[in-house]
């Protein structure tokens, strides 16, 4: 994301102009927008024209509109952001107060104005504009008959394709059906790789499976690549890396990212960092349960006691449209930071962020144990 103009004071009104450059920037923008903000962007409006003879025609016009945001929609598969709101600035085609939906486009600037810019949002703008964090990792997590092709960017884990095929088991005296179905499966996965992974952006392609499926697949892949003279695969051969995982399901991606061989090769993927922080939390929960809290009420109490060492919080909580609740979370983050704690904001699109969401979305590792006083109070988990 490119920052064009910034006119902000912390905890005050202000506006910022940005240009989204890639799909992930749409995700960042989704996390910046709040109901009640004003968004100014170029968009297409269908205009009804009435000619002098009375006949009505419609045409599509490109114009710049400023909306007061009411609804925000994010399609994670296509990474498209659609914002609906009412027009708050005089425009020759659109009346004041009229509804319009802007679909934000890549490489077109937009201006976002808010009444209050808090620390969380400012951090996200910095993160989005940071050119250093651009590692893209592709992963194929598979087992016999099932493969998930996944793209891991710093902020998102996107499922690009899923291949599911029934493979007949080996039977007494007849293994041909099994072998044939397996080949068809590998062929489908290979097509998936060629179609969905763009090799110039992707730094590394992990192939993970339990057992020997991964090795079989890699040898099939390169045998076919040689046979079909598929240059793109042969040139990028070094990017393929074989890793062990316990299953072919999407959540096994966590294990893959934690594998030491992988971490050595991709030194700083944000996704891996999040997984590690989450694992640390679970370890603490197992060993010293009084030093691991989750749920807003518990964590707030711990924060008041200046006990929070590491705060794990999901970005989903900041997309909460109720301003009062949102500012409660922001206050929590600010408090922890002021007291020398670390804050890790998890992306909901990553596997560990998803798991954190299930666990109420906020968790903390404490510096010292705090007795669990209110056991009877039911959490809204």
């Amino acid at each position: 994301m490119k920052l064009v103009h910034k006119d902000i004071e912390k905890d005050n009104a202000g506006q910022v102009t940005l240009i989204p450059e890639e799909a992930e920037d749409m995700w960042h923008t989704y996390n910046l927008l709040q109901v009640g903000d004003s968004l100014r962007a170029s968009t297409i409006r269908k205009v009804q024209t009435e000619s002098s003879t009375g006949s009505v025609g419609s045409s599509r016009v490109r114009t710049t509109l400023t909306l007061c945001v009411e609804t925000i929609d994010f399609d994670s598969q296509a990474c498209q952001l659609r914002v609906k709101g009412t027009n708050i600035q005089e425009n020759q085609y659109v009346k004041m107060g009229a509804y319009h939906t802007i679909e934000l486009e890549l490489n077109r600037k937009f201006t976002l104005a808010k009444k209050v810019w808090d620390s969380v949002v400012l951090d996200r703008i910095e993160q989005a504009c940071d050119p250093a964090q651009k590692a893209d990792v592709a992963a194929v997590v598979m087992q016999e008959g099932l493969a998930n092709l996944v793209l891991v960017t710093p902020a998102m884990t996107l499922l690009r394709a899923k291949v599911e095929v029934t493979i007949p088991r080996k039977r007494k005296g007849s293994c041909t059906q099994h072998d044939k179905a397996l080949e068809r499966f590998y062929e489908a996965v290979m097509q998936g790789i060629l179609r969905h992974f763009s090799f110039d952006v992707v730094k590394c392609i992990l192939v993970a499976s339990p057992g020997f499926v991964k090795d079989q697949f890699i040898s099939y892949l390169f045998k076919e690549a040689v046979r079909q003279d598929c240059k793109i695969l042969l040139e990028n051969r070094s990017k393929f890396m074989v890793v062990h995982s316990s299953s072919g399901h999407k959540y096994s991606l966590k294990e893959v990212l934690c594998d030491p061989a992988v971490t050595a090769r991709l030194s700083d993927t944000k996704a891996a960092g999040e997984v590690k922080a989450f694992e640390d939390f679970y370890k603490m929960l197992q060993q010293e349960p009084d030093r691991a809290f989750y749920g807003l009420a518990h964590v707030e109490r711990a924060s008041e006691a200046l006990a929070v060492d590491i705060l794990l919080i999901s970005d989903k909580l900041f997309r909460h449209q109720d301003i009062a609740t949102r500012s409660r979370y922001v206050r929590l983050v600010d408090n922890v930071k002021e007291n020398g704690g670390n804050v890790r904001i998890f992306s909901s699109l990553h596997v560990s962020g998803d798991q954190l969401n299930q666990l109420s979305g906020v968790a903390a590792i404490l510096r010292f144990p705090i007795a669990d006083v209110s056991e009877q109070s039911s959490e809204e988990c």
Partner: protein, 496 residues
């Protein structure tokens, strides 16, 4: 391949089919067979037993059973000779017997069983469906499928110095397999203390292993009276089908050989009177119209011409043919591991894990259910939202633990704590589980065999449980398009 050289058996079959066969039902109504009487008659008085062979990788399961089959005459000499030559050429001479059961090229190349190898043999009083399970940790999902269909089990351990210990320690499969089969309902176990020739049939070693294993198996829930220990050597063939004459062994061991012990297992009661249930473990296209599904009949019985309902797809089809151990039959009952040829349904709708049932008394399908679970030795505590892999019969489906309802007292079952923060090892708890796609299942109280499941996480089994309540929508209109699209996503792009 294995040729069925059991002349006495085929004679018995012919006699039975010469006996008054039940007349083909004309209409759609099921013939009122006195199924128990027919079942007795069919086997010539020999009940069917499903046996699974389990144990740590390289304990010698495949070799042990392969050699047993050979000694019983189930493998013809020429085929055996071929295996010996080919395995020697491949540099895997000691695997010759294992090749009887490990048939895929991959398995032979790597010397590892990857999927359950299935075959049949006979003892004096039983007909045994043998399932040779993989021992490697990565293939446990396949092993669970085999064990879910078993009535009894043979646990193979390697008696060699250091090997038993490696298999029995935390990372080995001896414990996990033992726990798994017990959790899946197996109560009788024969432990083959294998490779005893490597330790010269030393009695102390045998005693040592028996006492360590005995302690563990008792904790796992096996009754001492239902566990038997047999010293064997799979490679040399000692003490497999006949009592060994080796002096080192006969000096202190007077017990039965492996085959005798298998023969002595008590066959379980079959629920033939309950509504028909079959769990699909394989789907493939055979010659002719329609397609084949294999699986074990868990309850009830089936006849050719019957209409059956597949859940969760919620589709009906007709049974055109029934095959049991390569022989065509008119009917089959609970306990039989059969191949059904069905027509009237698209093969794409069925996958491993579907359950075929009686359309009039169908099984429920749901995405959410409540269960009572027992947690094993887990490394991380279980919290709400924990992602797990649900293993139910032949199904393996990703799921989440939606709610931690309560923690129960281990023996009394009373509620110790409601809405716990997390669950740790060894606890007994009630939880709610949600699956991504509908799963057809039964309550434990209705069908003991169909009410159990296992939960796995990152390659380890973390809990065993029983289904207590089905929640959420039952009979959801299963999006059949779901499987179709995923199948054709192999060829068409749907992700974007």
């Amino acid at each position: 391949g294995v040729s069925a050289e059991t002349p006495s058996k085929s004679l018995a079959m012919n006699e039975d089919s010469a006996a008054p066969t039940p007349t083909r039902p004309t209409g759609k109504s099921k013939q009122q067979l006195n199924i128990r009487a027919e079942l007795e008659k069919r086997q010539g008085g020999k009940p069917l037993l499903n046996l699974v062979v389990i144990g740590h990788v390289d304990a010698g399961k495949s070799t042990l059973m392969g050699h047993l089959l050979y000694l019983l005459g189930n493998v013809n000499k020429r085929t055996m000779h071929k295996y010996e030559q080919e395995s020697k050429k491949a540099g895997k001479a000691s695997f010759a017997y294992a090749w009887v059961l490990d048939e895929t090229g991959e398995e032979r190349d790597r010397g590892v069983t990857m999927d359950v190898g299935m075959t049949k043999f006979e003892t004096d009083s039983k007909v045994i469906t043998l399932m040779d399970a993989p021992g490697h940790k990565d293939f446990i999902p396949n092993m669970i499928t085999g064990a879910a269909q078993a009535d009894v089990a043979v646990l193979v351990v390697d008696a060699s110095r250091g090997e038993f210990e490696a298999g029995f320690e935390a990372g080995g499969q001896t414990r996990e397999h033992g726990l798994l089969v017990r959790s899946l309902g197996v109560t009788q176990l024969a432990v083959a203390v294998n490779k005893m020739d490597q330790v010269n049939w030393y009695q102390e070693r045998f005693r040592d292993i028996v006492s360590k294993l005995g302690h563990f198996l008792k904790q796992a829930g096996f009754k001492d009276s239902d566990v038997f220990y047999i010293p064997t050597s799979g490679l040399s063939g000692e003490n497999l089908t006949t009592r060994s004459k080796v002096a080192d062994l006969t000096a202190w061991y007077t017990g039965p050989c492996l085959l005798e012990q298998i023969d002595a297992f008590k066959p379980p009661q079959r629920s033939v009177e309950k509504p028909f249930r079959l769990c699909v473990s394989d789907v493939f296209k055979d010659q002719g119209s329609g397609f084949c599904v294999t699986g074990k009949i868990e309850a009830g019985f089936i006849q050719t011409g019957d209409k059956v309902l597949a859940m969760p797809p919620n589709e009906t089809c007709t049974v055109k043919g029934i095959t049991l151990h390569d022989e065509a039959l008119d009917w089959a009952a609970a306990g039989d591991h059969v191949s059904l040829t069905v027509t009237g349904m698209d093969i794409i709708k069925i996958n491993v894990g579907c359950i075929f049932c009686d359309p009039k008394e169908a099984i429920r399908a749901c995405t959410r259910f409540r269960a009572r679970i027992l947690l094993f030795n887990i490394e991380v505590p279980i919290t709400q939202g924990f992602p797990v892999l649900l293993h139910y019969q032949t199904v393996s489906e990703p799921a989440t633990i939606r709610k931690l309802v309560s923690v129960l007292h281990k023996s009394s079952g009373e509620v110790l704590k409601k809405k716990p923060k997390c669950l740790s090892k060894g606890q007994n708890a009630v939880v709610e589980i949600q699956t991504q796609r509908p799963v057809a299942l039964e309550l434990y109280k209705d069908y003991k065999e169909l009410g159990r499941f296992m939960l796995r996480y990152v390659g380890s089994t973390i809990a065993a449980g029983v289904v207590t309540e089905v929640k959420g929508s039952t009979y959801p209109p299963f999006p059949t398009k779901h499987i179709v699209i995923l199948y054709s996503s192999a060829f068409f792009d749907i992700a974007s």
